[in-house]
Each structure stands twice: as structure tokens, then as C-alpha cells.
Amino acid sequence: MKLKLHVWRQKNKSAKGAMVTYDADNISPNMSFLEMLDVVNEGLSNTGEAPIAFDHDCREGICGSCSLMVNGVAHGPQDATTTCQLHMRSFQDGEELYIEPWRAKGFPVLRDLIVDRSAFDRIIQAGGFISVNTGAAQDANAIPVRKLDADEAFNASACIGCGACVAACKNASAMLFVSAKVGQLSLLPQGQPERQERVLNMMSQMQEEGFGNCTNQYECEAVCPKQISSDYIARLNREFISATLAHPNTRK
């Protein structure tokens, strides 16, 4: 396959970026999208041009590192698939591809296609946990959990924190991400004691980081590689409202 790539190049956080065009020749349909970029980078290195920087690590769709907008769609055209698991057979020979980083106020570009997603970590640090010190746990089977709740909690906790939801949203909202963690922990008996403080603290951190609010377009759900349902956003809103009403004075 031969492709024409338009790639966002930006030297560092403060530099001005631009789209640059490259030819990608000798591409096999069996390559993954990132392997295609590897080949392009090998070519760039050989000609003395700086390779395109992009985040990636496990390349099996679970670490959440990879984060590319391909033709305007977070993680590209295939449903329920991270960029690293997207294969070139999803594209046509001769196609032009536009490759950009996540675009959001909360995710500043560090270089080329790499963005800073530490805002997600800070949201988790604000409350995305159950406060249990090591060694303080009771026997695992002393806390039975209804299977349906456990399965539902798992569906939410499958979030890989890639940020595609934010990138896809016109408001750069992080509510699908926040709702996945709030949803998981509020469904489990272990998560009950901190249930209200958790949602309040995480939501307030989310706003501080510059993410917007949900206006029910569900583009986040459409691009989520782990198919986290936007139902969790509804759950999040309910959790948030009930916590706000229960503790009007604890809201930051």
C-alpha cells in the first residue's frame, strides 16, 4: 500500500506546530497503525529528519498510552479498538490520512503527537480510590458482591485512561472517564463509605483541570476503545446530585 500522511509536528510545548506531509510507501495491510508509523520513522531517521514522536507501550490495547486522532476520529475508524490494535487493512491503498494528537485544554501537547495526560492522574488522586491500608483487609469472601453488580463494576473499571473520550468531545469533557471510576466504586459495597466525598472531589478536580461538561452527544462512548457506556455519565450525574444535596457544605 501507498499512503499520504499529514502529521502534526510540534517541537515542544511552547513551539508552534504545523501539519507536515509525508509519503508512506511499502505498507503492508497486516501492519498495525503504529508499525506503519515505525516504518515511516525509520525512513525519516535514515534521511536525518526527526522521527515523529508518539506515545505507545504495550501495543496490545490495554496500557492506554497510544492516543492518535486519525482522520478526525480518536483511535481511528475501527470500533472498540485502540490505535495500536488498528491495522492498515482498515484503509485503502492511496488514501490520505490526517494524524493529530488529542486536542483539549486539559491535555497540552508535549511534542508532535504526545500530550500530557497527567490531569487524569490528578483526578484519580482526588478520590478515585477506596481508602484501605495494606493489611487492614478482611477475608475476601467476607464481602459478597451481587454478580450483576460485580460485572457492571468490571465494565466500568475496564477504562484504560487513554483520553479518547476527551479528545472526541466538543466540550473536552472528561465525564466518561470520571464516571467510569465513580461508577465502579459506587457499585461495590467496599466503595460505600467514601461514595459521596469521592464524586464531589473528583468532579471538582475535573473542573479545575479545564475539562468541560457533558452535553449528551455521546461521542465519547462512540470512540471508547473499551466501550464504556455513557449510562455511567447518567449514574455520575445522579451520584453528584445526591452527594451535593446530602452534604451541601462539603462541596469545594
Binding site: 496490545e60 488522586q125 484501605v132 463494576a153
Partner: protein, 641 residues
């Protein structure tokens, strides 16, 4: 080199309990006076950093990924073992201990492995309390399954994403401590070297991967939990960033490396498809619970699998190992696949593949049930290969997956450098010559949650540690050596990319030090690797400079260390003149092709000592031995027939 495994005396069952009582404590008021550095944020590093912070120590945690949640533990699929015996099928601490020792082909320490089995239940309790959504039965209690080579159901799991869920549990505990200010987290920061002062580990030198700044951090103790070195083979199931630098640099500073040749080749991975292949993808071993492995009986049979009648198929694992069948341990299943392909029975374009067939299971249980068990794995397989495994058998081939070798540690998880502790895959300790499925997650979390918090206190309480600052000359000297190494790399301005060197090294390692090894091949590799290393240092091409986000520099530093480390692995494989677990020397096998151990000569851990200056390449590697003493199990021939 002085080393002492410090195995407590007394009966196996009470060693850890007694040892914990004998260990010195650090009072709560004193804990806050200590800084501890943790390198790595996976199951071992994340759990250690969180727990030490909960106890009141000041912790600094470093990872090269952009977030601690992305450490490669996240990719573990199958499950985590624990001797809970919830199913009541005859499991016990002793049985888990015995299975792990036997699975490791009697090349691990009894005391360490027993402790691992003892705390395995606590690990599950802790994870559940954190909200890890393990699979459950309809009654609300936890579900267990049997996993690779175990005859009891002791594996806890969360669909095919157990590693992810456990890591997110550890990450949540770590995040809580970061939020509380008790852990200072340094993402996108890579350790370049260890700083040793007065013979003790007192800090590290790191590179900020965004700005390129080289900085020092001082501490009273350093913990390495930086994972394994499978990427020395270039193609492996490891994440692209996984590397040996932290442990190899510590080795050069005086930490002994234990059994570097013990690597695990996982039997069920998606076969290599082209030169551009960047990594290999594992298909969870749990698939072997329902899938049947076979190859055509005829050599070079190119018919589609559906056209090959039952009578013309060789279900070779079931034939050779009737009692374990498709669940034979990883090393055995891998070697059998290689043999079948080497003899010409392999399938797929390259001929390096065997079938993993679910037709029987789908017929017996229905497609829905199989989808429930393995749906995400089947989807992943289809995404990568464009073949539907519900309709036609998967094609699989072994791939490098895990490294049992690592920095040598004593019972307290301390290396031969006082103050340097090593956890998880980065240490050599618990899996012997072969790791059983679902044991890596158990070990990582056991080390981090339940061992190091006790043992490190003893070190801190019983060692005289003057305060040192990063202005100390040792830090300056180490920083300088890191800077000059990078300058040297940048100054080469050669013609070959870092990746091309890595691929070439990987091919040497896979061909000569992979699933099977022999004297001649290893000797060839030991000649070839230094030549390749020389070429690297005279012809590598790195674009850009140090003071920027530069992924070429990151890779170059890692590959430079792999180019030294690969040689050490081959030397270890050459010196170990026996076959055991994942280490198969073709000269040492039984008449029917099974591994032939030599307990007389090799019932020991090989400790390697670096010779020469830490700044330059080694002038030599010296081998020492820690004898393994078995007081509670009888050394037996590992048979799965």
C-alpha cells in the same frame, strides 16, 4: 563478592512469622525521617510505594511511562494464584508452595516460595478491599479457575484483564498517597544509574524524558521494581519500553545478577507475520483450558484446517502428556510446538505456527459460553489476524514472555548492595527455572504489599545512615558519567538506526539463546554480540539532541545496555550445563527429549559479578554459586506425562 541468603532457621511453616518478629522496627516518628526511592510503578513498585507511604515513609516513585497506571503489569491477562482453597478441591499453602517449586524445576529457594504461598491469600483480601472486580459466582462469592499446569482451581481472575484490574488497584492506593503528599511521583522519568556511597545504595540519577534534564535523587534506601528484560530478544510480549537498564546499571555498580539465562517462552502467542513486526501479542494461557493444540500429521500439509480429518491430526500435547494434555506447563508446551514446527508440521505462511482449536469446546458448550469466557481474547485475535477464531482454529507460536532471572536478592529482598532492594520480575527469586501461570501477579504484589514493608524497616533500623545530599560528589560523578554517555551516543552520528541494532541483537538471542540452546550456538553468540556492540558505538545514528523529548535517545540508552546484557545471558546459559525449566540445552536431554537436570552440579543459583569500572564495558563477568538446599521437598524429575 560476599552474599548471604539470610534464610531464617526453624521449620518452613514458621520461618516468616519468626523472622517478622526478629526484624527491627522503625517507630512511627522516625519513619517520616526516611526517604525511599521506588523505581517502577507496576504491581511490585506501585504496591510497595503505596504501602511504604501508608506506613509513613517519604516515598519518591519513578516510571518512564506518562502515568504509573501504564506499567506493563497492566497487560497480564489470565489471573493470580492464591492458596485460599475456596473451591475445597484440596489446595493448601503447602500445595501451592510445592507446585511452584516443582514448576520452577527445583531451582528456587524453599523459604522464599513458601512465604509467597503464605501471603498469597492476603493479596487477594487486599485487592478485593480496594474494589478490584474479580469474577464472582451468582452467590456473590469469588470464582476460581484452574490455570496452566495446576490440578486445583486456585486462580482468581477478572475476565482476561486480571493484570489491569490488579494494577489499577495498586495505582489507586498509590494515587491516594500521591494525593496525600506522601508519595512524590515522577512520571516520564527514567533511571539511568544507581548512586552508591560507602558501599550502600543512596540514590539514583534519572533523565526527565520531556526536557532531557539529568537529575539526582538521594534516599536512605532504593527499591528497583523495574520489571523484566525480555526485550533483549527485540520481539517479545513485553511492552515496547520495557528494558534492563535499571537492573543492569545496578549490576554494574555491584549488585549480583541471578540466573540471567532463565527466560520464559510463552506457548500461546500470535505468530510473527513480517519484518516490520514490532512486538508479539500473547493469547492468554487460559485458552488452553478449552482449546486443543494440534498440527497436521503430514509434513508440509497446506490444506485448510477444516479439511484435515481428525485421523490426520496430531494432538501432540495430549499424546505426549496424557495426564496434563493441553495444560502442560509453559516451557514444555513451547518446546513441543517448536519441535513440531522444526520437523515440518508447522502451519501458516511461515510454517512457524500450530493450531489452537476450539471446535470441540464450542460443540460441547456452545459459542455463547466460549464467548463469555474468552470473548475479549477472540476479538483481539481477530483484530490482529483478520481471522475469526470461532470459525477456524487460532494459529499460535511461542514467544518470549517473562524473565525468571533478575537481580539476586536475599530473603529480605535486598541485593548484594546494602540498601538496594529488588521486587517483582526484576528480582530472580521465586520462580526458579520456569514460572507457572498466574504466579507473576502473585509475586509482584506479595513482594510489594507484604514483604518489603517489613524487611526494609529492618535495614533502616539496623544500619547507620548518614544524611547525604545530591550535592555529594558521588552524585556529581554519576551524573557526569550519565551525561557523557549520552554525549558519546549523540556524537557517533553513524548510519544505522537504533532499531536496526536492536533487531539484529534480538535475532542472535532468539536463535542462540532462545527456546533451545547449545554450546556451539552460545559460543557463537558470545563472539557476535561484542562485535555488534562495537558497531553500535561506532555507527549508531540518533537524530536530535538531549535537551528535548527524544525517543531515539531513550531507545539508544536501553539498547546499549541490552547489547552488554545479552552477552551475560549467553554466558550464564553456557555455564549451566544442564537443562531445567525454560533453560533447555540440547546436549542435556533424556532419550525421549525431556529436560535433563543435573542436581549434583547445578542445584544452585548462579550469581554473576561485574568486573571492571561501572562507567565502561565489563572487563569480565565472574560466576558465583548459592547452593539450593531442599529440606522439605524431594528433588524429583518433573513429569507431566
Amino acid at each position: 563478592m560476599k552474599f548471604d541468603a539470610k534464610i531464617p532457621s526453624g521449620p518452613l511453616e514458621s520461618k516468616w512469622e519468626r523472622h517478622k518478629f526478629d526484624l527491627k522496627l522503625v517507630s512511627p516518628a522516625n519513619k517520616r525521617k526516611f526517604e525511599i526511592i521506588v523505581v517502577g510503578s507496576g504491581l511490585a513498585g506501585g504496591s510497595a510505594a503505596a504501602t511504604l507511604a501508608e506506613l509513613g515513609y517519604n516515598v519518591k516513585c519513578f516510571c518512564f511511562q506518562d502515568s504509573p497506571r501504564r506499567a506493563h503489569s497492566i497487560a497480564a491477562q489470565g489471573g493470580i494464584n492464591a492458596a485460599k482453597n475456596y473451591p475445597g478441591d484440596g489446595d493448601s499453602i503447602f500445595r501451592l508452595f510445592y507446585d511452584t517449586i516443582k514448576g520452577g524445576d527445583f531451582r528456587a529457594r524453599e523459604a522464599n516460595v513458601y512465604r509467597l504461598a503464605q501471603v498469597s491469600g492476603n493479596v487477594i483480601d487486599q485487592c478485593v478491599a480496594q474494589g478490584v472486580p474479580f469474577a464472582r459466582e451468582y452467590g456473590g462469592l469469588l470464582d476460581n479457575r484452574s490455570f496452566g499446569g495446576a490440578q486445583v482451581s486456585r486462580t482468581f481472575y477478572a475476565r482476561g484483564q486480571t493484570g489491569q484490574q490488579l494494577l489499577l488497584g495498586a495505582y489507586s492506593a498509590l494515587s491516594r498517597q500521591i494525593g496525600a503528599g506522601q508519595v512524590k511521583m515522577f512520571p516520564r522519568t527514567e533511571m539511568l544509574d544507581l548512586v552508591v556511597i560507602d558501599g550502600k545504595a543512596r540514590g539514583i540519577v534519572v533523565r526527565d524524558l520531556v526536557t532531557g534534564a539529568i537529575e539526582s535523587h538521594a534516599a536512605e534506601a532504593v527499591i528497583l521494581a523495574s520489571g523484566g528484560y525480555g526485550n533483549v530478544f527485540y520481539l517479545s510480549t513485553n511492552a515496547k519500553g520495557s528494558n534492563v537498564t535499571a537492573t543492569y546499571r545496578a549490576y554494574k555498580r555491584g549488585a549480583a545478577f541471578g540466573n540471567p539465562c532463565f527466560t520464559q517462552i510463552h506457548p500461546t502467542c500470535i505468530p510473527v507475520k513480517g519484518d516490520y513486526q514490532s512486538k508479539l501479542t500473547l493469547m492468554s494461557e487460559s485458552l488452553r483450558n478449552d482449546g486443543r493444540v494440534w498440527v497436521p500429521k503430514a509434513k508440509g500439509d497446506l490444506r485448510a484446517p477444516g479439511e484435515i480429518p481428525e485421523s490426520e491430526r496430531d494432538y501432540y500435547l495430549e499424546r505426549k502428556y496424557p495426564s496434563f494434555g493441553n495444560l502442560a506447563p509453559r516451557d514444555i508446551a513451547s518446546r513441543s510446538a517448536k519441535e513440531a514446527c522444526d520437523e515440518g508440521h508447522g502451519v501458516g505462511e511461515s510454517g512457524f505456527g500450530v493450531y489452537l482449536d476450539f471446535a470441540d469446546a464450542i460443540g460441547r458448550l456452545g459459542e455463547g459460553k466460549i464467548r463469555g469466557r474468552y470473548g475479549n481474547l477472540f476479538d483481539m485475535y481477530e483484530r490482529i489476524t483478520d481471522e475469526n477464531p470461532y470459525k477456524m482454529p487460532m494459529r499460535i507460536y511461542p514467544a518470549v514472555h517473562y524473565t525468571m532471572g533478575g537481580l539476586w536478592v536475599d530473603y529480605n529482598l535486598m541485593s548484594t548492595i546494602p540498601g538496594l532492594h529488588v521486587l517483582g520480575e526484576a528480582n530472580f527469586s521465586d520462580h526458579g527455572a520456569n514460572r507457572l501461570g498466574a504466579s507473576a501477579l502473585m509475586q509482584g504484589l506479595a513482594d510489594g504489599y507484604f514483604v518489603i514493608p517489613y524487611t526494609i524497616a529492618n535495614y533502616l533500623a539496623s544500619t547507620k545512615l548518614e544524611k547525604v545530599a545530591t550535592s555529594h560528589e558521588a552524585f556529581k560523578a554519576t551524573e557526569d558519567s550519565c551525561r557523557s554517555r549520552i554525549s558519546k551516543l549523540l556524537a557517533v552520528k553513524g548510519s544505522r538506526t537504533v532499531g536496526s541494532f536492536h533487531r539484529e541483537l534480538g535475532k542472535i538471542m532468539w536463535d542462540k539463546c532462545g527456546m533451545t540452546r547449545d554450546r556451539q550456538g552460545l559460543q557463537e553468540a558470545i563472539k557476535k554480540i561484542p562485535k555488534l556492540r562495537e558497531e553500535f558505538w561506532s555507527d549508531v545514528k540518533i537524530i536530535g539532541g538531549n535537551e528535548e523529548l527524544n525517543q531515539s535517545i531513550e531507545r539508544a540508552g536501553r539498547v546499549a545496555d541490552f547489547l552488554e546484557f545479552g552477552e551475560l545471558m549467553c554466558m550464564d546459559a553456557l555455564a549451566r550445563e544442564e537443562s531445567c525449566g525454560g533453560h533447555f540445552r540440547t546436549e542435556f536431554q533424556t532419550p525421549d527429549g525431556e529436560a535433563l537436570r543435573d542436581d549434583e552440579k547445578f542445584c544452585h543459583v548462579a550469581l554473576w559479578e561485574h568486573e571492571g569500572q561501572p562507567e565502561g564495558p565489563a572487563t569480565g563477568h565472574k560466576r558465583h554459586e548459592e547452593a539450593l538446599v531442599y529440606e522439605n521437598v524431594k528433588l524429583a524429575t518433573r513429569s507431566y506425562k
